[in-house]
Assembly symmetry: C3
Homo-oligomer: 275 residues x 3
C-alpha cells in the first residue's frame, strides 16, 4: 500500500503542493497521492484538526496522511510521525492532531533523522524538505522508528479545549460553528453522541436548535425533508450537527459563520432561558 | 482499465472529494482517479450535464464517470449506473445525464444493491456512501447488472428543454449563455450543427451574432484572429458557439453571463428585426 | 518513468484540465499526472515562467512538464518540446520557458508531427489536441525528435528582461514583486545570488529592504523569528527574496502586490537616497 493523503493551507495557486508531490514521487514513483484539501485557511490549525479527523478513516489502511498547517515552520517545534489503526500521520507538533490524540494514538516518534530529508532543509518550506520525503520513505515501507526517537503522545501539543461544547445546569447545550462548507452548511462541534446527552430516551423532534434568533424544531433525516429554501438541522457526514438550508445557503440566511454560537435544548427550554 | 473521473459541486475546500477518493482506493488500490471539476455551482444540474457531455469522450474506454450534483440526496430519487460506448456513468436520477440520454445510452440500471455500498449509508453524503464504493467496484470489473435492476433510459429524469436554442420564422436563431469559463469566454448552447441550419451553403462571414447591444460580424477561426482586446465569436472546444475577447474577458466587456441571450442571423437580419 | 506535470491558466472550474488528463491516460494508462497549478492568471506568461522554474527540479528525472499558458493558441506560434537535465518540457513558443533557456536547454524541437496529435486539431484548445497527446507519447518513451525538427534554443521566444533586478551606481538594488502567494507573501525576482552582489563579505543584518514606505532591517531565517504580525524579509523556498508577515499577510499590510517595487541597500543607503 502506498497511498499518501495531503491536507495543507497552501491553496492551489502556487507551486507548493505540486512540488511536494514531485518530491514524494521522486522517492516512490508508485505512490498514490490524494489531495484531501489545500483550502484550509492560512494557519487555521483547528480547521485542519477537524478535517483530518473527518477524513482519515475512509482511506486504505497503510495510508500516510500529511497534515501541513505549520505557522511555526523553521522554529524548534517538532515534526511528528504517528500511527493509529494501521494509518500513519505526519504533522507539526502544534495541535493539529489533537482530535486523533484524544481518541488514542498507537505510537509516535519525533521526525529528526536527516537521512530522510531533502538536503539542505530550508527554513520556510518543511512540507517540501521534511514532510514530503518522510512520506515518500514511509510509503516505501520505512518503519516509523527510523525517523527518530519515540515520543509519548501525552507530550504532544494539543489545542485548548475551551471551545468544546458544554451543558449548563439548565440542560442547555452550547456549541459553535467550526466551519462552513461550500454549500453554506454550518458544521458544528456538537457530535451526535453529545447531543444524546441532553435527550436520552427522547424523540429527536423535541429538540430545539437556536442560531442567532432563528429556532429550528427537531432534526431532519435528509436535506430535502425541509421545504425548498427552508432551514433544517441534521447530523452531517462527519457525524456532527449541521445547520443547512434545503437548496439554499444557511450561512447567508442566518448571517453567521465560523465561531457562531449554537444552543440546543428540549422543546420550550430555550424560550424559558430567554424569559 | 481502472480510470474513475469525478464531477461534483463539492468544491475543494472541504474534505468531501478526498474522502470519496479514499473510499474508491480502499476498494481498488489501483484506481486512477481524475478530477474533471468540483467547481460546479452548488446544485447546478444543467452545468454538470454540459460538463460531462463535453468531457467523457476524451477519457479511456472503460472509465467510470461519477457525476455527483445531487440536491435530492437522501430522498427517494434513484441512483443510476449507465453505459454508453464502453464508458460507464454513475449519477443521481435528476437530469444530470440528460445530454447523454438524448444521444442514446446503451443501458442503465438502478443502483440498489447495498452489498456494494458503505454500511451504514448516511442521508447526507451518498457520494461517499454509494457513488464512490459503486465506482470502486465497477473499476474492478463488476458488471453493471450486479448493482441493481435494469432501468429504461426513457424513464430517467431529463431537464426541461425550454432552454434549447430555437429558430423563429424570420430566420433568427436565439440561444443562451450556458456558462462562463475562467477566461470570461461565454459558452453558449448553440452547437455548430445548429448554426448550420441558418446558413446552409453560405459563408460564415455573413453571420451576425448579437449579445446585448453588441454585434459581432462572422466567425473567427482563432482567438488571435481578432485584434487584441477585441470581441469575436468562435466555435469553442466543446463544439459550441463561444463569445470571447482576444486577450481579454468577454463577460466583463459585455456585462452578461449565464442565461444571457444570444441572437444570430444572416447579415442585416438582426437590424431588420430591430427596426 | 511516466510522470507528467501540468501548469496552466485554465483554473479548475471548467472541464479543460480533466479533459487533458483523459487524453494523456487514453494514450498511456500508466501515466502519473501531477497538477503543479492551474491557477496562473489568464495569459500571465511571466508567472508561469517563474512557476516552472521553481518546480521542475523537484520532480523525478524523466518527467514531462506541460506548461500551457497560451494566448496565441491557433496562431502560427510554434509548440516546443525541450530537454534539460533529463526532464522534458512542452510549451508554446511565447517566452514561458525563458528562465530555463537562460540556464541552458540541452535541446529543443518544434512539435509539428500530426501523427502524435488528436485529429482534428481545434483552433482553441491545443492543450487537449497537441500538448496532452504529445505528453502521453513522450511518457511512453517516444524520442523528442519524433515530434518534429530541431530548433536552436537561441531562436525561441524570450520575455523582455527590462524587469530584471538592477543595481544603480549608488549601490541600491531595485527589484520587483513577481507574485503574491496564498499567504500574502510577496515573492520578488531578487535571487539570493543577486543579493550577495551588494553585500559581499558583509553580514545580512546590515541590509535594509524597502517596500513603499516600510523599511525592513536585515534578513530573517524563519517566519517566526519576527514577532507575531510583524514584517520580515527572508530567502523563500524558491531561493528568492520574499517579504512576509509572521502569522499575517504582507500584501494586506503593505498594500502592494505584483509589480510593486522593492529596493535594497546597505544600512543607511536607502535613507541617503531619500534625502
Amino acid at each position: 500500500m502506498n497511498c499518501v493523503s495531503l491536507i495543507t493551507d497552501f491553496g492551489t495557486r502556487d507551486e507548493y503542493t505540486g512540488v511536494m508531490k514531485g518530491v514524494i514521487l521522486t522517492i516512490n514513483p508508485m505512490a498514490r497521492i490524494v489531495d484531501i484539501t489545500h483550502g484550509i485557511s492560512p494557519q487555521d490549525i483547528l480547521a485542519a484538526a477537524y478535517t483530518i479527523e473527518a477524513a482519515w478513516r475512509y482511506f486504505p489502511k497503510g495510508t500516510i496522511h500529511m497534515v501541513v498547517v505549520d505557522p511555526g515552520v523553521g522554529t524548534r517545534r517538532a515534526v511528528i510521525a504517528a500511527e493509529k489503526s494501521g494509518h500513519r500521520f505526519l504533522a507539526p507538533d502544534n495541535g493539529v492532531l489533537s482530535l486523533l490524540i484524544k481518541d488514542g494514538l498507537d505510537r509516535a516518534v519525533r521526525v529528526e533523522n536527516p537521512a530522510y530529508f531533502l538536503n539542505p532543509v530550508s527554513q520556510t518550506f518543511h512540507g517540501r524538505d521534511i514532510f514530503a520525503p518522510a512520506a515518500g520513505h514511509l510509503s516505501l515501507g520505512l518503519p516509523l522508528e527510523s525517523l527518530g526517537p519515540d515520543l509519548n503522545p501525552k507530550d504532544m501539543a494539543r489545542l485548548a479545549v475551551q471551545d468544546d461544547p458544554f451543558i449548563t445546569p439548565d440542560g442547555i447545550l452550547t456549541g459553535q460553528v467550526i466551519s462552513v462548507d461550500r454549500f453554506g452548511n454550518l458544521l458544528t462541534n456538537i457530535s451526535y453522541e453529545k447531543l444524546q446527552d441532553i435527550w436520552p430516551g427522547r424523540d429527536e423532534k423535541f429538540l430545539e436548535i437556536r442560531v442567532n434568533t432563528w429556532i429550528i424544531q427537531g432534526l431532519s433525516s435528509s436535506y430535502a425533508e425541509a421545504a425548498s429554501e427552508n432551514l433544517l438541522a441534521i447530523i452531517g457526514s462527519r457525524g456532527y450537527l449541521e445547520i443547512a438550508v434545503n437548496r439554499g445557503n444557511a450561512q447567508k440566511m442566518l448571517k453567521t459563520g465560523k465561531g457562531g454560537e449554537v444552543k440546543i435544548g428540549l422543546a420550550g427550554k430555550l424560550n424559558e432561558l430567554e424569559a
